[in-house]
Amino acid sequence: MKRKISLIIVCVLVFTFILSACTVAGTKSGTTSSDTDTTLQDTKPAEKIKITTAQFLEQSTEDYSINENPYVDFVEEKFNIDLTIIRTSSGQYGEKLNALLAAGDIPDLFISNKTFIAKYAEDGIAMNIDSLKPLAVNLNKNVNEEAWQAAMYNGKLYAIPNQRYDPFPYLSFVNKNFVETLNIDVNNIKTIDDYYDMFVKFRDNFENSIPVTAFINWPLMPLIDAFDAFSYKVIDGELLPNYLQPQYKEWLKFMQKMYKEKLIDQEFITQQSEQTWSKINSGKVGFYSWFWHQDVMVNQGGSRDDWLPIKPALKADGIESKLIYHSPARQFFFIGSKSKNPEKVIEMLDWAASEEGQLFIQAGLEGWDYDVKNGEIVMREGRKGQNMSWRFVTIGMDPPKLTSEKVLGVFAEIYGESGVRNYQAAYEFGGYDPILLNIPSFPDLDKYDFNKMRTEFDFNAIIGNIGIDAQWDSHITTFRKNGGDLLIDSLTKWYNNDYKK
């Protein structure tokens, strides 16, 4: 028995080492990719420039490696570069990037958010690109000035804003069937009272209907700006976040009334997003807000044609309100301070904003994703709307605007007429708060969970667990005591010392 056991152990060990040896060989052949690269480099033209980018991408790359595929081949040939993309999922991107940056392996191009601009600038990780900005002709033409401003630190430019072609992506939708049955013209829904009356009609005329549903992170969006309760404002010499302003209280009271009268989905706080989408696709929901493309709804069998975009309600003074998005630039692209070819990186990013670049990201490659027939772009079967994120990650960034008819034609083919209508409506109805866009991060305040304090009060208020008028003052006092005063002080100092200048 003992001999048998010894034999088994020896066999396992031998097997392990054989397997290991095979894998080493396998790994070597894997690493041969770098060896092969070196060999290939000998035969490649000497001027090939190595560019390394760090990106996050979750979407499938059709079984291709992120670094060996027709899109990379195209970009490498176009810019005469040797492109290496370090890819992770968005959840792990921060840790991966931190490790790379801390070890000094700074990629030529990496993506991050606004809060890191100051840190990367101070630590010498991001390159000051003031002198390179003039090279980005297409970006300069199409990226909003506010977005460029947001990429600056101490008066110097350290990043390129990733302003997508849909800088204001939010949109509110009403159920087409509901409004047609009730003979409601959505263009006549202008004030908050009009909205309220419409929701009441939905509830009273459609059995088991849900006049308004909302996603847990989103209940605050629709109609909030109509109450003038979204923007940060200076009140009595202090810059106050919207959720500490009296206008916000009025909006909460409206929401509480809606909830009490069963105009808002009674489960919106507790349900999963899948359940919300299921309700939306069941035809029982009258109103909801989401990104203009409604992609999850469409992916789950819904149709954009069943929903009409609706303009946000007017404010009390008759001024148009907006569906506010935090920033026209979703992320910021940084050129690593060690990059030997920053001009090439800028050239690539700028190309994304050109007509050719827009076409590459929206439509893909001719002969693989589309064909050109009689001068018209015809998407191939199953390639419509495919791999856009993958192409965007390959070239570095999204186009900031869709400017050519050819590209808009492809866009219309992907999203259909109702998709284009939504896109245009989102552009028209959307906006941003210039103060919110520019607020820096305050690391000293990280220990306070302002969001928790706020949402607890909001949800309890909306579902009627607390009287808003009775509790509001004590809520503000508690909030201020628990770090709120420090927040307001930091905001006010920044506003007076930096923002106003």
């Binding site: 152990i9 397997l19 894997g30 979750e58 801390a102 199953g382």
Partner: protein, 292 residues
């Protein structure tokens, strides 16, 4: 007398019932994840699926298996689990056995050295720098070598080996056995239950490991299964947000059912290991019983 022993009391029935219910509680989450994964998405969102699957569709597993990333990841994870466990267990056993010998010169220092690493570690970034300077980044061995010695496992094994009576070894030594022979022929067979336990710890650790594959590996084909799974689950989540449309009609997978399928598919291979290891636990118990 036999009748007395075989007669079941109400306490026994309660025990059986309790353990049965406990078993159900343990198994049900796995079962539920499986039936959700093969059920029609609309039935799941309407909370109809509970005991039985509704609208059975195994296509979701076909979809997952179709991903090259899944098959590549599976190979990497199987490799790191098999090789990592074999090497890890071998080295940890040898180290622990040597350190269990009180006569070993410098033993105290080495034990303290190991305990020190149990309490303090270098942190992610210094570790990354060390690994990069060792040339291990983007090599499969980076998934195995840094974790070859687990201080915790070594201490467990050390205490187990210390509990084996010295007389057994002395008798073997009188018969002419050397240290290696004693370890292989005497100590290891006696230690099968503890080795099985530690082996299981190592294997499960390798199977579930995610961050080393993310931090140290850039090449897609060397990423372990967990990195692929996280990517896939994140893509389902990100499609809830502002990413582009990226799935074609046939690639579109309902998020919740997909996640369940992924969780189930990634759990099965490691669950399969348990029955093989379990017999050693039972054997260990029997050894104790006979001695008792």
């Amino acid at each position: 007398m036999d009748l007395q022993i075989n007669k079941k009391t109400s306490f026994d029935y309660f025990n059986i019932l309790f353990l049965f219910m406990y078993g159900i509680i343990c198994i049900f989450p796995f079962y539920y994840v499986f039936i959700v994964s093969i059920s029609d998405f609309s039935q799941v969102t309407n909370n109809i699926v509970f005991i039985w699957p509704k609208g059975v569709n195994l296509g979701i597993y076909k979809n997952i298996m179709r991903y090259k990333g899944f098959t590549d990841g599976l190979k990497v994870s199987v490799f790191r689990t098999v090789v990592g466990t074999a090497l890890g267990l071998s080295l940890q056993t040898m180290l622990a056995y040597a350190l269990s010998k009180k006569c070993l010169p410098g033993r105290r220092f080495m034990v303290l050295y190991i305990i020190f690493t149990l309490i303090f570690n270098g942190g992610m970034i210094p570790t990354y720098i060390v690994i990069r300077n060792l040339g291990l980044v983007d090599k499969i061995w980076v998934l195995i070598i840094p974790g070859l010695i687990s201080s915790w496992n070594v201490i467990l094994l050390m205490s187990f080996f210390s509990s084996i009576p010295v007389e057994i070894e002395e008798s073997a030594r009188i018969d002419g056995a050397n240290d290696i022979l004693i370890l292989i022929k005497l100590i290891l067979p006696l230690s099968l239950p503890s080795l099985a336990t530690i082996g299981l710890f190592i294997a499960v650790g390798h199977w579930n490991a995610l961050m080393d594959g993310v931090i140290y590996i850039n090449r897609e084909e060397l990423k372990p299964l967990q990195a692929f799974l996280v990517n896939l689950v994140s893509s389902q989540n990100s499609s809830m947000g502002m990413n582009h449309i990226s799935f074609s009609e046939e690639q579109r997978l309902p998020p919740y059912t997909t996640r369940c399928a992924i969780i189930f598919a990634s759990t099965v291979p490691i669950l399969v290991v348990y029955p093989f290891v379990q017999k050693y636990f039972i054997k260990g118990l029997m050894i104790g019983a006979i001695k008792g």
